[in-house]
């Protein structure tokens, strides 16, 4: 059962990779990276159970957290063209306060 699920996740990874390569818009690619991270988490969990050692499940959880942070960083880059909204002077003050501490 775990083997079938692993094969399914691999196929899904291939499909997501195809979308990341072909994807016409930038947002397709961002979404592809995000869902590829999710597939990696699933694959780690599945291979842990497949090889009879589900000890790596906590590492898969950490991957999920990392994936979230990376996607947030990429989207923030989109919004501000930088990681801190400092390039233009017309950014609202509150938003600048929000992101200054990063």
């Amino acid at each position: 059962m775990f083997a079938v699920a692993t094969v399914a996740v691999i196929v899904a990874m291939a499909l997501v990779l195809a979308r990341a390569i072909l994807g016409p818009t930038l947002y397709d690619r961002v979404l592809a990276v995000n869902s590829f991270g999710t597939k990696t988490v699933l694959l780690l969990g599945l291979t842990g159970f497949l090889t009879g050692r589900p000890d790596f499940l906590d590492i898969a959880l950490l991957y999920a957290l990392l994936n979230f942070v990376a996607t947030i960083a990429i989207l923030k880059f989109f919004r501000y063209e930088a990681l801190a909204p400092v390039m233009t002077g017309d950014v609202p003050e509150t938003r600048a306060e929000d992101t200054r501490h990063d």
Binding site: M13, A20, I21, R29, T47, T51, L66, N67, A73, R100
Partner: protein, 222 residues
Amino acid sequence: MAEPVILPFEEQLSSTVLLDLSLLTLLVICGLAMVRMRRLFGVAMLSGIYSLLSAAFFVSLDAVDVAFTEAAVGAGVSTVLVLSGMALTSRRETPVTRQRKFLPLFIVGIVGAALVYATIDMPAFGDPNAPANAYVGQAYIERSPEDIDVPNIVTAVLASYRGYDTLGETLVVFTAGLACMLLLGAGSIRGGRKVNDPQPPEAIEREERGDGDETVLSDGPR
């Protein structure tokens, strides 16, 4: 010390060999697409995917710590670094002439062949008679419960057997981070520029000159 241990190699590998093969195939596809692609944003996204794939591959090779470093640095930090570097340059890669393509391909081919040649000498994956598993590793496994009394052997090795080594590494990394902060200036933490700065070019020039002076100043004491 190195007594021959017979492990069921075929049985262990057969379930994961297909997984490794498919991950490596995806890695090759991803790398070729990165080479072919001209839009730098797509290349940055694909490099994130490449890091995630190689992290999954490292986990499948039982190198969990390497995999975690790869995922954190490759998929997280370096994607963001590549994106912020892309903000300073153009969005598309300019095509390269055929003559300039040849020398890098030649060098990469030579280096790749050398690396493949180096793997011929290596013991088989998971070989219990390999030097890494036979001598010191065996001693760590046998003695660390009495010596250190820590259930995790890696922790015992890192924090006790090689404690000074780990302390030195931490010191080096800390010093490097400190030096980077000194070189880049405290303003780089905030993003380098004040939020309400106007955008006239002379202000930017003045600020760039200011940054240069700061770099020189902080370079002296170091």
